[in-house]
Symmetry: C2
Subunit: 255 residues, 2 copies
């Protein structure tokens, strides 16, 4: 079992060497720019879940990279002037600031299409189907976000953040060949991660859950979410130590 | 063998009844708006090719619809103010004019993700893989278009228009189960359709090939492209009468 930092290094190396479709030509530069600097939480989670379920990291890397590409696509489009109008991302100018809005729109499109190309390198449709479902859920969440229909905070975050975390787990299970009937406990674990990530994100940014529940309230919600995730891990019959370390890291992260 | 108009009616009915992911919520309205009014050339071509190769139209409809969704996605994003800034599409306000720019960006994203979900309803990855390759080629063509790197007009159109026409043929062959070694003549036919479509498009719009070759020159190019497509059909061992009618329609179209 590789530690989270080792898994992250594998992801970084894989993303750096990723061959993009040659037809994309000069667009590849903006796509690689958009991929730099992420924490790779979804990809690491995918690798750790898959390894715990019996797969080799190498088999899992295309799925893990696909998750990061979908995440990067969503950030590039979210940051556009018409949406969040965010000029900074991961400490650098957003893709649209660096390359212009037109290139950012189609760079995001290309990241999404490349994600599917990666997910389709597996012999079955399973990984790609889960990626498609998660992407649609995430976009549904973006829609709730931009239209201000945020009455149900939990539903918004379940879609916008949770779907891709759940896919990180379910894609790993597909690659590892875990039968559907045995996936329940793993998936139950996956559903706890989106809320945990989001609440901690809001604590770090001082918005969202902090606005609705206060700082102490949000901290309690985060701790409770981390506890639930750890409890779910206890119900899985496998060595989940690395996953447990990831949950601890998500709860305690400071960036 | 169903005539092109009958195939078009099947496509229309299928698109109208298409179940979109429930998580998309209110975004579905803008997606359906963007799908209205197309000529369905790519979908009809997919159905006609597949039927000629031995498949039932019903089996082909998800692939045909997926092609239309990818086409619609590309139009929605192409029309955005940052790209072509086109306020009118298919005789109505463009999606971003009707629903706002933010919704148009993510409606395009969702159309692309839904296209993959449809392509992934098949038991193998073949249709989705061809859709991913074609989408990436198309985006590469958009990049050449928006960055003004149009030195090679034929390459620009091969990517921006041709890839999706070629995918209409190759996806149909996958659904029909035509073995790879027998696909050559079909695929050769598919590569003639993008140029034919594009040249006629430019004749109708008075731009592109008309600017570089004059109206008569463009007309001759279109006729020659249609001849080549018919010649390719003659090399296919199947009843290609409907495909021949489609080629004739593409060459003679006035809208």
């Amino acid at each position: 079992m590789l530690a989270p930092d080792r898994l992250r290094a594998l992801v970084e190396a894989h993303l750096e060497e990723l061959a993009l479709a040659p037809e994309l030509g000069g667009l590849a530069e903006s796509m690689r720019y958009a991929l730099v600097g992420g924490k790779r939480i979804r990809a690491v989670l995918c690798l750790a879940t898959g390894e715990a379920a019996g797969a080799e990291p190498e088999e899992l890397l295309p799925a893990a990279a696909a998750l990061e590409l979908v995440h990067a696509f969503s950030l590039v489009h979210d940051d556009l002037p018409a949406l969040d109008d965010d000029p900074v991302r991961r400490g650098r100018p957003s893709t649209h600031v660096e390359f212009g809005e037109a290139v950012a729109v189609i760079a995001g499109d290309a990241l999404l299409a490349e994600a599917f190309r990666l997910a389709l390198t597996y012999p079955t449709t399973a990984v790609a189907r889960q990626l498609a479902g998660a992407t649609l859920g995430m976009i549904g969440g973006q829609y709730l976000d931009i239209t201000g229909r945020r009455e149900d905070e939990a539903q918004l975050h379940r879609l916008k953040t949770g779907c891709l975390f759940e896919a990180a787990v379910s894609c790993a299970l597909s690659v590892a060949g875990v039968p559907e009937r045995e996936q329940g406990p793993w998936r139950a674990f996956g559903t706890e991660l989106g809320p945990l990530f989001q609440i901690v994100d809001d604590i770090l940014d001082g918005d969202g859950y902090v606005e609705t529940h206060g700082l102490d309230g949000a901290r309690r919600l985060a701790d409770r979410a981390a506890e639930r995730a750890q409890e779910r891990l206890g119900e899985i019959e496998a060595d989940t130590d690395v996953l447990s370390e990831i949950v601890g890291g998500l709860a305690a992260r400071s960036a």
